[in-house]
C-alpha cells in the first residue's frame, strides 16, 4: 500500500508541491521564529558570560519589578562599596556605571540608529574589564571617551575626533581616545558603548555618588558562593548579590523571558498560517478523493479493505506532512535572518551571531507539519473508505453521504454564534489559555455538528448569492465572465472552503486595521480634548522608553515666549496584593492642570493639588477592575524595592495613554520611586505669541544642550502616534501576508484540480472556437470571484469581530469607533489581485489543454 502511495505521489508532483507549500510556509515561520529567538538568546548568553568573566561576585539593584531602562536612581551607594571592600575575603571591589544614553556626532546626528541601545559606561579595573582597546586607550580625564569598534566603524569615527554624549546632564563634547572591542571580539549585540571615566560617567547619567553595579574579586582560597553569602549579610535587600555565573544566567533568563514575547508574537502568525494551510490540505484531499473514486472502487473490487483505503489516504497525508515539514524547517532556517531584517527595518535591532538550531526546533516543526496535515486529511480519508466497489465499473458513482444530523437544527447555529462571541471576548480580555482552548474545542465540535446538519438544508445559499453578486463584476465581459460565475458555484462547498482560507487572513487584517484606526481616532480625539498646551518635548529615539533629562524642564522655562512647562514621568509600581506591574504616571500638579484637562469621574483639579507625597488619581478602568474607591489606602512596591503608602484621591478617565493606572506627583516619584529623568515636557506659550516664534527657539536650545530631545506640536504629536501605530500595523500586515500567500496556493490547487475535472469541457470550448485567451480569462475570472468571496467574508467577519471586541471590552471608555474605509476597499482589491495571481498557472494550463480531449470517447 505504501509503495502505491509513493508512486502516486511522484506522478502528481505539481499537486504535491502546491499542497506541501501550503503547510511548509506556516512551518517555516514557526521554525524561523525558533531559530531567530534561539540565536538571539545564545548571542546574549555569550555577551553576559563575557561581561561577568573575572567577577566572583556581582552586586546590582534588586529590581523586583523587573529591569527598566528608563532612568531610576540606583540604590547602590559609595557607602555600600566601602562596606563590600571591608568584607573579609574581598580582594578587590569596584563600582561602575552602565546606563542608556545618546551618542551623536558633532553635527547632532545620532550614532546609533533604529532601536539599538547605546550605553554610557565607566572604566573598571583591568580584572573586571570586558572591553579591550584595539586602538588608543581608555579615557583618563573628563574630556575623553573611548567607543566600541562597531559604532566607530559605522560612523567612521577616528581617534582624535570629537563626539557628543548626552545623558541626564546637558550634552557635552568629548575627544575620542580609544576604540574598544568587546570580549573575544564578538559583537556587543548591536548596541553601542561609550566609556567615560567613572566620575564623568556618574555626572553624565545624573547618579553622582552612586553605581549601577559593584564587581567583586575574591581573595585566593575564597569561593565565589562563600563570598556572596558573606556580602549578602552586609547589604540591604534593595540590592541583589550574585556570583558571576549566577549573574550571567540571571541576565540570560531575564532576556529569554523578554524575548518570549517576541517568540509568542511571531508564533501566533505561524499558527494562523498553519490553520489556513489545514483548510487547503482538507480541500485538496477532498477533491482528490472525489476524483479518485474510480481508483478506490477498483482497489475495493480487487479486495482492498476499508481500513487499507483509509490508510492509503492517511499515508498520503503523512508523506505530504513530512515533505511540508522538512521543506518548512529548511525554509525556516533560511527565513530566520529575514525575520531579523524585518524587525531591524521596523526599528528593533537584535543581536545575532551564527544560526542556532535546537533539537526542539526540528522536532516541533516536523511534528506540527505532519500533525496538521494528517489531521486535515483525516475526514477525506474516511470519506474514501465509503467508496463502493461498484465505482470501478461505472462513471459518476457518488460517494454515499453520511446521514445528516437532524436534531437541534435551530439550536446549534445559535449555540455556535454564542460560542463565537464568547471566544472573541475571551481573547479580547486576555483570559487564561485553558479557557480559550476549551471554548475553541467546543466551537469545533459544534461546527462539525453544524456541517453534518447542513447536508440537508439548502446548502451554501450565501455562497451562491455572493458568487452571483460578485459575478456581476465580470458578467459584462460576456460569455467568459458568465461561465466563470457559473463555474465558481458549481461546487459551492469547494469554493467556500477555498475562499475560507483567504477569509482567515483578510479577516485578521481587517480586524487589526479597524482596531488600529479606532485607536488612532481615539488618541486624536483624546489629545484634542485633553491637551491644552502648545508643544510637547520628548526623546527623539524610536525607543518609547527613552527619557529626557530632568534639567530640561527648567531650561525650557527660560525660553522667551514660554509661559509654563510641566514635566511628566512614567514609572511602574506593584500593589501588595498583585503580581503584575502597574503603569504609573508622575506629574507636577501646579503646572499640569494648566495644560491638561483631566476627565474626572470623581474629584476635580483641586484633588490634583491635594495629592502631595501620598495621594494618587486612579484610572477608571483600573479602579473598576481592582474595586478601588476614593479614600482607599494602597501599599505600592516601587522600583527601588520599597513599599510606599498611597491613598486613592480621585478617579479619572483617560484615552491619551498619558495617565497610567495610577497618577502620582513627581515629587513622590523622585523621592520614593527613584525617578531621575522625565518622559515628556508639556510647554505652554504666553498669550499672543505664535508657534513660529517659539518652537524654533526651543529647537535651538535642544540642539545645543539636549540633542536627544525634539519638540512636537499637538498636530505633530498626533501624527507621530499614528505613525507608531502604522509601523506596528505594517509589521502585522507583513506577517499576515504569509497567510494570504498560503491561501493563494489553495486557490491555485483548487483551480488546477477543477480544470483537470473539466478537461473535456475545456476541449469542447476550444473545439467550437474559444480562443486560448478566452479560456485564460475565464479561469482568471473564476479565481477572482472565489478570492472576492473569501475577501468579502473576511471583511465582514473582521469588522464584526472588531466592533464586538470594542463594544464588549471598551464600551464607556471613550473609545472612538472608526472604519478605515479606504484600507478596507484596498483589501478587496488585494483579494482580487491575489485571485488574479493565483490564476496565472492554472489559466495557462487550461489554455494549453489538448483540444482533442473533448472528442476522446471513454
Amino acid at each position: 500500500m505504501l509503495a502505491l502511495v509513493a508512486r502516486g505521489f511522484l506522478q502528481r508532483k505539481l499537486r504535491v508541491l502546491l499542497t506541501a507549500i501550503a503547510i511548509a510556509l506556516g512551518v517555516a515561520l514557526m521554525a524561523g521564529t525558533y531559530v531567530l529567538t534561539d540565536t538571539i538568546n545564545k548571542s546574549f548568553a555569550g555577551i553576559f558570560q563575557t561581561a561577568t568573566k573575572g567577577h566572583d561576585v556581582v552586586i546590582t539593584p534588586t529590581q523586583s519589578l523587573g529591569r527598566r531602562v528608563i532612568s531610576q536612581t540606583s540604590p547602590i551607594t559609595e557607602q555600600m562599596l566601602a562596606q563590600v571592600r571591608g568584607t573579609p575575603g574581598v580582594a578587590e571591589a569596584a563600582g561602575s556605571i552602565f546606563t542608556p544614553g545618546t551618542f551623536l556626532d558633532v553635527h547632532g546626528k545620532r550614532l546609533t540608529t533604529g532601536g539599538a541601545p547605546a550605553f554610557i559606561g565607566s572604566e573598571v579595573p583591568k580584572r573586571f574589564e570586558s572591553f579591550t582597546a584595539v586602538h588608543g586607550r581608555f579615557p583618563v580625564n573628563a574630556e575623553e571617551v573611548a567607543i566600541d569598534e562597531a559604532t566607530a566603524e559605522r560612523s567612521n569615527l577616528k581617534i582624535g575626533e570629537q563626539m557628543i554624549v548626552a545623558g541626564s546632564a546637558p550634552a557635552k563634547r568629548y575627544t575620542i581616545v580609544g576604540i574598544l572591542r568587546f570580549g573575544g571580539g564578538q559583537s556587543f549585540g548591536g548596541a553601542g558603548a561609550a566609556i567615560l571615566t567613572l566620575a564623568e560617567a556618574q555626572r553624565v547619567v545624573g547618579d553622582t555618588g552612586r553605581y549601577d553595579q559593584i564587581d567583586v574579586a575574591a581573595r585566593p582560597g575564597v569561593t565565589p558562593s562563600g563570598l556572596r553569602t558573606r556580602i549578602r549579610g552586609e547589604l540591604p535587600s534593595t540590592v541583589a548579590v550574585r556570583t558571576g555565573s549566577e549573574q550571567a544566567s540571571k541576565e540570560t533568563s531575564d532576556l529569554e523571558s523578554n524575548l518570549s514575547f517576541l517568540r509568542t508574537f511571531l508564533l501566533v502568525f505561524a499558527y494562523v498560517a498553519l490553520v489556513v494551510g489545514a483548510f487547503i490540505i482538507f480541500n485538496t484531499f477532498s477533491i482528490t478523493v472525489a476524483q479518485r473514486t474510480r481508483e478506490f472502487g477498483l482497489l475495493r473490487t480487487l479486495g482492498a479493505s476499508r481500513a487499507q483505503i483509509r490508510r492509503s489516504v492517511v499515508y498520503e497525508g503523512l508523506m505530504l506532512g513530512i515533505v511540508g515539514g522538512v521543506v518548512g524547517l529548511l525554509g525556516g532556517i533560511a527565513l530566520a535572518p529575514g525575520l531579523d531584517q524585518l524587525f531591524k527595518s521596523f526599528g528593533a535591532d537584535l543581536p545575532d551571531s551564527g544560526t542556532v538550531i535546537e533539537t526542539r526546533t526540528i522536532v516541533v516543526s516536523l511534528a506540527v507539519g505532519v500533525g496538521v496535515t494528517v489531521l486535515a486529511g483525516l475526514s477525506p480519508a474516511l470519506r474514501a473508505t465509503r467508496v463502493p466497489p461498484l465505482a470501478a465499473m461505472r462513471e459518476g458513482v457518488e460517494i454515499p453521504r453520511r446521514t445528516p444530523i437532524t436534531r437541534g437544527r435551530h439550536a446549534v447555529p445559535v449555540l455556535l454564534a454564542l460560542i463565537g462571541v464568547r471566544l472573541v471576548v475571551a481573547i479580547a480580555l486576555g483570559e487564561p489559555f485553558s479557557t480559550i482552548a476549551i471554548t475553541f474545542a467546543i466551537g469545533v465540535v459544534l461546527l462539525y455538528v453544524r456541517l453534518r446538519q447542513r447536508a440537508t438544508g439548502p446548502r451554501y445559499r450565501l455562497t451562491r448569492a455572493l458568487a452571483h453578486a460578485v459575478g456581476g463584476l465580470v458578467r459584462w465581459r460576456g460569455i467568459t465572465g458568465r461561465l466563470a460565475e457559473e463555474n465558481s458555484i458549481r461546487q459551492p462547498g469547494r469554493t467556500l472552503t477555498t475562499a475560507s482560507a483567504l477569509t482567515v487572513g483578510i479577516a485578521l487584517v481587517t480586524l487589526v486595521a479597524v482596531l488600529a484606526d479606532g485607536t488612532k481616532a481615539t488618541i486624536n480625539q483624546a489629545v484634542d480634548r485633553s491637551f491644552a498646551g502648545d508643544l510637547i518635548v520628548e526623546n527623539s529615539s524610536v525607543n518609547s522608553e527613552a527619557a529626557i533629562p530632568a534639567v530640561l524642564a527648567p531650561a525650557l522655562r527660560r525660553v522667551p515666549g514660554v509661559a509654563s512647562v510641566t514635566p511628566i514621568a512614567f514609572t511602574v509600581g506593584r500593589l501588595r496584593t498583585s503580581t503584575s506591574n502597574e503603569a504609573i504616571t508622575a506629574v507636577e500638579p501646579e503646572s499640569f492642570e494648566r495644560v491638561y484637562r483631566v476627565e474626572w469621574k470623581q474629584g476635580s483639579n483641586a484633588t490634583l493639588q491635594r495629592l502631595g507625597e501620598s495621594g494618587a488619581i486612579v484610572k477608571n478602568s483600573f479602579a473598576s477592575s481592582h474595586h478601588l474607591k476614593v479614600g482607599q489606602r494602597l501599599e505600592v512596591l516601587t522600583p527601588t524595592d520599597r513599599y510606599v503608602p498611597i491613598t486613592v484621591e480621585g478617579i479619572a478617565e483617560d484615552n491619551t495613554r498619558l495617565l497610567g493606572d495610577l497618577t502620582i506627583t513627581l515629587a513622590l516619584a523622585r523621592r520614593a520611586f527613584g525617578q531621575r529623568e522625565d518622559a515628556l515636557d508639556f510647554v505652554s506659550y504666553e498669550k499672543g505669541v505664535t508657534n513660529e516664534q517659539v518652537q524654533p527657539r526651543v529647537e535651538e536650545l535642544l540642539a545645543s544642550y539636549f540633542p536627544q530631545a525634539r519638540s512636537r506640536t499637538a498636530a505633530q504629536f498626533k501624527a507621530d502616534q499614528s505613525g507608531q501605530i502604522n509601523s506596528l500595523l505594517a509589521l502585522i500586515y507583513v506577517l499576515l501576508a504569509l497567510s494570504v500567500i498560503v491561501s493563494l496556493f489553495g486557490i491555485v490547487n483548487t483551480l488546477v484540480l477543477s480544470i483537470y475535472e473539466r478537461t473535456r469541457e475545456l476541449g469542447m470550448l476550444r473545439a467550437i472556437g474559444t480562443s486560448r485567451a478566452q479560456i485564460r480569462q475565464m479561469i482568471r475570472y473564476e479565481s477572482v470571484i472565489t478570492a472576492l468571496i473569501g475577501g468579502i467574508f473576511g471583511l465582514v467577519i473582521g469588522v464584526v469581530a472588531a466592533v464586538l471586541i470594542t463594544t464588549l471590552t471598551l464600551s464607556g471608555s471613550g473609545y472612538v469607533q472608526a472604519f478605515p474605509v479606504g484600507t478596507l476597499l484596498i483589501l478587496l482589491v488585494v483579494a482580487a489581485v491575489a485571485g488574479l495571481i493565483a490564476a496565472q498557472l492554472p489559466a495557462r494550463r487550461a489554455a494549453r489543454l489538448d483540444t482533442l480531449s473533448a472528442l476522446a470517447s471513454e
Binding site: 458568465r482 458549481r490 469541457e761 472556437g769 480562443s771 472528442l855
Partner: protein
Amino acid sequence: MAITAGDGRDGYSMIVEASHLSRRYGEGEAAVDALSDVSVGFPEGRFAAIMGPSGSGKSTLMHILAGLDSPTSGSVRVAGVELTELGDRELTQLRRDRIGFIFQTFNLLPVLSADENILLPLSIAGRKPDHAWYEQLIDTVGIRDRLSHRPAEMSGGQQQRVAVARALISRPSVVFADEPSGNLDSKSSGDVLRLLRQAVDDIGQTVVMVTHDAHAASFADRLLLLADGRIVHDGEAVSTEQALDLMKSVG
C-alpha cells in the same frame, strides 16, 4: 469500386479538401501511421459518412479536417483556407466561424441552460444571434419547451438535439459529427440523424460524420470506408445491410 458521386468532379465546389494527408504518432519503432497518403474532398451541401473499424484512422482524419490536429504531411483546405499554414489563433477563428461540431458525449456545458448552450458559439465570438434563424432552429430540433433547462434536466436525445442546434447556429461551412448517435437509444438516434439529413436537404448544410454504426451511415449521401489509415471505399451511401457487408470485407 467505382468512384462516382460526391467526389467533386461533377459540379459541386469543395468545402473541405485534403490531399496526401499522412499522420504519424510516436517515433522510431513505436511509430504508428494513423493516416497514409489520404486524399479526399467534401463538396458543399452533401452528407458524408466515414466508417471504419477501430484504429482505422477515421477519427484522426476528422480531427485533421477540423483543424484540431495537424497532419505530419499533406494539406487541408476548409472553405478555401489552407489549415496547415495557420497558427492557433487563426485556427480558433476558423473553427469559430466556419466549423460546427457535434460530439458523441454531447459536451454541453452543464452550467448553462439549453438556449445558452445553443448560443454559446455566438457568445464566444461576441456576435449577435440572427433571431429568425434561432427561432427556426429550435423549432426544427424541437426543444422549445426545454430552452430554460440545464443539460442535467434533459434526456440524452434532447441534449444531442441541443448540440445539433449549437452546431448549426453560426451557419458553419461544414458540420463535423463524431459518432453523434453513439450514446443514444435507437429512437433518439433516428431523431438526431434525421435532423442532420434535414439540415443537408433543407438548407444545404455540408455534414461530415464519423460513425461505426452502419444504420447511421445509411442516412448519408456518401460512404467512405477507412482501414489502416487508407480510404478503401468511397461511394454512394448504401443500405444498412450493404454497409455492414462492406465493413466485414475490410474488417
